[in-house]
């Protein structure tokens, strides 16, 4: 069965960044993908993976991959390591300031390799 993914046409190229075991469970890493800093998070010890911009708009530093991940009312999130604002891992929406939203990126795990597309 073919699933029509609306974003699929925008996804031009998958870039392999690392094997999944290089991302320790419940931590993040940062990858450089076509000049962009992408924060990739692994929730739990399986293949639940999210990709956001690594740029923290509050501190203006590229640090989000080093934040603590967790959930707020079931929504997976990361807390900025600098001033602790939280961002929804699925949407990039800041949970502490509704006017702020950061970019998200397509991410997948194929044969235990993590791939990102920007």
């Amino acid at each position: 069965m073919i699933q029509a993914l609306p974003t699929q046409s925008l996804i031009n190229q998958w870039v392999t960044i690392c094997p999944i075991e290089q991302i320790l469970p419940n931590t993040g890493v940062c990858a450089l993908v076509e000049g962009q800093q992408v924060a990739v998070f692994r929730v739990g010890d399986g293949t639940e993976i999210y990709a956001l911009s690594n740029y923290d708009p509050f501190s203006k530093a590229f640090v989000l991959s080093r934040g603590i991940i967790g959930d707020r009312n079931g929504i997976p999130k990361v807390a900025s390591p600098i001033y602790k604002q939280n961002f929804n891992l699925q949407t990039g929406q800041c949970l502490d300031d509704e006017t702020v939203r950061i970019p998200t990126f397509a991410v997948r795990v194929i044969e235990m390799q993590v791939q990102v597309s920007v």
Partner: protein, 847 residues
């Protein structure tokens, strides 16, 4: 409906309070409000006038929020004095010739300072102390003055002396009565107050009647007294009492008292029912109330009556006062002079510390009638509540004046025992009932909103602790549990989680979450649990089950800075370092281009290290014999020391050696918050041990141990817990103290805050740590022994494990540092570029 017109004469503190009340009661829909303000500025805080000389500006003192009057269509004429009320035509006319027709008038003209008829009283260099204009005139004159005298040693006179002192003058207070503040304190209290104030450098001359003020070339030079004495001075300020400003009322035929004051009834109405008078110009029951609180009450009464909010009445006011004069606490309340028949007194005088406390009780000793506190008025709020609510006193009323007896908590009545009518905030006359209903009806949950909604605690602030207790009590009753749950993932307090982890031997966050929590965790519970696990089992914090729990500082064993780089602080135990090691630090800093700075804890901070540089830097440091300083952890930081008896000619013990030993013993110990310590080699206390979580000071006979001090946001001195103890006892007590703190404190709670909340305070802590009242000291010592035995330098462990080093890269897929980091040079070192500098650097306009 046409609006009625109300003219308020005077825009002082009470006049403004009245307008605020009218706004709060939504009266502006029915009333057209007009006010005349004689002074060139709107209402300001006259009570804190001396603040003008300690840096406050007229703008800081203002009570009127910008735009408040305009937003509520209140017409204000600033710098225009109302001069006439025409009761036949019902108009008020001002000095500038403005005439307003009124339905009602509120007179709030206040008072003027009384200047005794002393020859020379109008010489240049004599002043009164009432308005900002007065202060400006005083300040201008003080520039060419060295000595200043205040005539009048009452409440306002001492405030004024404070102002003179702030202006740098040699300050004298001359009082006609035999003691200072004759209205508020008795002879014994007056003596303590006089000594205390003289110790602050203000000369007090009591029982002095000024007979003449002598001038030369038109300027004040000295004053002469009835007893023949003289006092040289360059300026004189009169503060010999106040007189009501009632001339506008007299002129229109309103009833005034024999000695002045506009006569008012319970509704604050004058002899003309359309005209009210409030504040210091009003005479109620033959009495002028010269404090702001009764004036505020009158303002509320009038606003209530004009707005048909029932018949609120003014029935006199409590003249209880609590003030800080020249930094000295003075409080006087109720029947302070034992005028009630059969009244009995208890008093203590501490001439060394300058404290006087007296309570007056009824004949049976059951009820508190009044009291006087000088030097320490911390008991005021409590005593006032006992008196106002007629609460039955403990069997020994003198206990109210003394520290708690051994094994008992101090006699304080809980807020829940107060009746709803109990006045909590006397500045704004807010009762317990009003605060409780605001909390319930508006669902308030924090102190800031309670203050905003009820005004309680917004005056002198003395009732804030009571309001806080009240809030907690209300929330508890409402079932809005005063949650000490760590976060949404754990319905336990930190202390409970600590207990679970210890007793069930839980070793990982996932185990704890599965057994006792829900969800995935968050940035609150993860680091807290990570810290507990470390305190309990001392496992390496970057092991896979723990690494995701750590705040970024712990996760990379360094302190993150605003630009995402890190700082490196190696341990320098006791602040002692060899030249060779200093050279290594210099070389490393130079090689990696790090900014260097000496920390407050006698260590060296190397800043600006990229995450990928951290292992390389630490390799160098460890090879040179350094180890982690745990500056990144909620852990023992530093044990600061002086050079002690080894070098110092005053030292009595070897403080440096002890500091090193203590620092090495507790290094790496993780706690609810960071821990700081210091050891001083003598009582000169150069290491500032009394500002630390635990501090040690050498004595001739051993060591004194102080605990729970704090610098930071709310500085607090550490308290003495044991004296003249030997080193073994000292270490034993510190072991117990630290482990007890780690067991019971909340997350991110420093020892000082922890102690403040600990029921029974330092005495209780002594019982636990020294007398083993809980029977847990063996356990605490064993737990600490485990920590000491299992210590390992986290950086050494990390450097030795290539798999751990994988994480110390900015990009997982490219060997390249963070390209966004930009530094500029300042004073020969680098620092992060500001936003506006970044572009310049990138375009090459700045290096």
């Amino acid at each position: 409906m046409t609006k009625k017109t109300l003219v308020v004469i005077g825009n002082g503190m009470v006049g403004h309070k009245f307008l605020e009340q009218m706004i709060a009661k939504k009266a502006i829909d029915d009333w057209h409000l007009v006010t005349f303000c004689e002074e060139p500025r709107v209402a300001y805080d006259r009570v804190n006038l001396s603040g003008f000389f300690s840096g406050k500006t007229a703008a800081d003192l203002t009570l009127v929020e910008p735009g408040l009057y305009q937003d509520h269509n209140i017409q204000i004429y600033v710098g225009d004095k109302a001069i006439r009320i025409d009761r036949d035509h019902k108009t008020v006319t001002s000095a500038n010739g403005i005439t307003i027709g009124y339905d009602n008038v509120v007179i709030a003209t206040g008072s003027y300072p009384f200047v005794p008829p002393i020859p020379g009283k109008d010489t240049q260099g004599t002043f009164v102390y009432r308005t900002i204009d007065d202060l400006e005139a005083m300040a201008a004159h003080a520039k060419s003055a060295k000595v200043g005298v205040v005539i009048g040693g009452g409440l306002l006179g001492l405030e004024c002396a404070n102002a003179l002192k702030h202006m740098g003058l040699e300050t004298h207070v001359v009082e006609f009565a035999p003691r200072l503040m004759p209205v508020q304190v008795d002879d014994a209290g007056g003596t303590v107050l006089k000594n205390k104030i003289e110790a602050l450098g203000v000369a007090v001359h009591a029982s002095k009647s000024t007979t003449a003020i002598v001038s030369e070339n038109g300027r004040v030079t000295k004053m002469q007294f009835a007893d023949g004495d003289e006092l040289q001075t360059d300026m004189i300020v009169f503060s010999a009492g106040i007189r009501p400003r009632d001339e506008i009322a007299r002129d229109c035929g309103l009833a005034v008292g024999d000695r002045g004051g506009i006569v008012i009834n319970d509704h604050c109405q004058t002899s003309d029912p359309d005209i009210y008078a409030i504040g210091e110009c009003a005479l109620y029951d033959n009495r002028i109330y010269g404090l702001v609180a009764p004036g505020y009450t009158m303002a509320t009464v009038v606003a209530d009556n004009l707005c048909d909010r029932g018949s609120n009445a003014f029935t006199g006011a409590d003249m209880s006062t609590k003030l800080k004069l020249l930094g000295v606490d003075v409080a006087s309340f109720g029947d302070a002079f034992s005028k009630t028949s059969g009244a009995k007194e208890f008093a203590i005088i501490d001439s060394i510390q300058g404290i006087y406390k007296k309570i007056v009780v009824d004949e049976s000793g059951d009820r508190l009638l009044g009291g006087i506190l000088v030097g320490d008025a911390s008991a005021y709020g409590n005593l006032l509540q006992l008196m106002q609510n007629q609460i039955v006193l403990p069997p020994h009323p003198e206990d109210l004046l003394l520290p708690p007896r051994e094994g008992q908590s101090s006699f304080a009545m809980g807020v829940e025992s107060l009746p709803d009518t109990a006045q909590i905030c006397s500045c704004n006359n807010v009762t317990k009932g009003q605060i409780c209903s605001a909390i319930q009806e508006q669902g308030l949950t924090d102190i800031a909103s309670v203050k905003k909604c009820t005004q309680a605690g917004t005056g002198c602030g003395g009732c804030v602790p009571l309001v806080t207790d009240l809030l907690k009590d209300q929330l508890k009753k409402a079932g809005v549990e005063v949650k000490n749950h760590l976060c949404e993932h754990f319905a336990y307090s930190r202390q409970e989680l600590y207990h679970l982890i210890r007793t069930q031997k839980i070793e990982t966050f996932d185990q704890l979450l599965a057994g006792h929590g829900q969800g995935k965790g968050c940035e609150i519970c993860k680091p807290a649990v990570g810290s507990i696990l470390a305190s309990a089992w001392n496992d390496y914090v970057l092991n896979p089950p723990h690494v995701g729990l750590q705040d970024t500082n712990d996760a990379f064993l360094a302190n993150i800075q605003k630009d995402g780089t890190y700082s490196v602080i190696p341990r320098i135990p006791g602040g002692e370092i060899t030249p060779d090691r200093l050279i290594v630090l210099g070389e490393v800093a130079k090689e990696f281009g790090l900014y260097t700075k000496i920390t407050g804890g006698q260590r060296i901070d190397l800043l600006g290290a990229r995450v990928d540089q951290l292992p390389l830097i630490w390799k160098r440091l460890i090879d040179a014999g350094f180890e982690s300083g745990h500056a990144y952890g909620k852990a023992l930081r530093t044990v600061k020391s002086c050079v002690g008896s080894t070098w110092c000619r005053f030292g009595v013990q070897d403080s440096t050696s002890l500091a090193i030993e203590v620092e090495l013993r507790y290094r790496g110990l993780r706690a609810p918050h960071k821990l700081k310590s210091a050891v001083s080699g003598c009582t000169r206390e150069c290491a500032e041990a009394q500002s630390k979580d635990f501090g040690i000071i050498a004595t001739e006979n051993g060591w004194n141990l102080y605990v729970c001090g704090n610098g930071g946001i709310r500085p607090q001195h550490a308290q003495l817990i044991a004296e003249d103890i030997d080193k073994e006892t000292l270490i034993k007590y510190i072991d117990r103290f630290l482990m007890f703190y780690i067991r019971t404190a909340n997350r991110l709670e420093r020892t000082a805050t922890w102690l403040n909340k600990l029921e029974g305070g330092i005495d209780y802590l002594k019982q636990v740590v020294i007398h083993d009242s809980l029977g847990i000291c063996d356990e605490l010592e064993a737990e600490m022994a485990h920590q000491v035995e299992t210590y390992a330098c986290e950086w050494k462990t990390t450097i030795d494990d290539p798999t751990k080093l994988m994480r110390f890269r900015h990009f997982v897929n490219v060997d390249q540092p963070d390209p966004s980091l930009v530094h500029v040079e300042e004073r020969g070192q680098k620092r992060p570029a500001f936003d506006d500098e970044k572009e310049l650097v990138i375009t090459g306009e700045r290096s």
